[in-house]
Symmetry: C2
Subunit: 119 residues, 2 copies
DNA sequence: CGGTAATTTGCAATCGGGTTGCAATTGCGG
DNA sequence: CCGCAATTGCAACCCGATTGCAAATTACCG
């Protein structure tokens, strides 16, 4: 419950260590186990943005986890933040036969509006 | 040069530790530094497939690094291999204004043909 | 060639995120 | 209040990535 509350205080995505500082009465391992649990039950998106730390964010719509409705994520290389681009849906693509698709990650990297406006 | 030769012996993608065993006269750090160098000069794709280890593969066409022509990668959750789906091009998408796109990663996970045919 | 500077290498150490074993604590039904 | 199950904290560990540094190699200039 504490982990959930801490998660809800984040506007965008967050990492395990973000949660550690946000919910500082809890131990890293407890938070980790909660995250794992939530992710298994599809309450969380798990995002690998190549920053080294896995990012998470709360699923705000029920069907966000079905493949057809996956949206993409944007990782800012300047400030390191990662955003859910909720409105950008991943187009369906024709894959070579033989591959069984279970999950799609669409990650865009670059500079976010904030970092572009500064300098 | 030794690193380059070792890389060319891989059919698909490879990790740092793959190269370590392939080019066993070289130290991990030397290989790492070469990879970094190659990547900076866009001779390599760098692929994060969520397996924990960064994967690489040689760029086989000159323009593979321009955004419009990026292809996607497939990570098999059974055998752990990662493939370049050279023929699947990432479609151009309309992004929200304000984001500056520098790089796109399109990663599909699932089961590869090999692992599907076995059992 | 010789000699010095620049580069590259190997080794070991370190970092950091993730993960786990285990003992201590807490929750809860009876 | 007792006892069992679930949760938690702590510390240790794993593993890939990364770096500092000294030694070895290479490049280059006279």
């Amino acid at each position: 419950m504490l982990v959930l509350e801490a998660m809800e205080r984040f506007e965008h995505t967050f990492s395990l260590s973000d949660l550690e500082t946000e919910a500082d009465t809890l131990d890293k391992s407890s938070i980790f186990r909660s995250l794992t649990l939530f992710a298994e039950h599809h309450l969380l998106h798990v995002i690998e943005d190549g920053s080294g730390a896995t990012k998470y964010c709360l699923c705000h719509n029920d069907h966000a986890c079905r493949i057809e409705e996956l949206h993409c994520h944007f990782h800012c290389e300047v400030c390191g933040k990662t955003f859910c681009l909720d409105d950008v849906h991943i187009p369906v693509i024709h894959y070579p036969a033989g591959y069984e698709v279970r999950e799609i990650n669409y990650l865009v990297k670059g500079r976010c509006p904030d970092c572009r406006s500064k300098r």
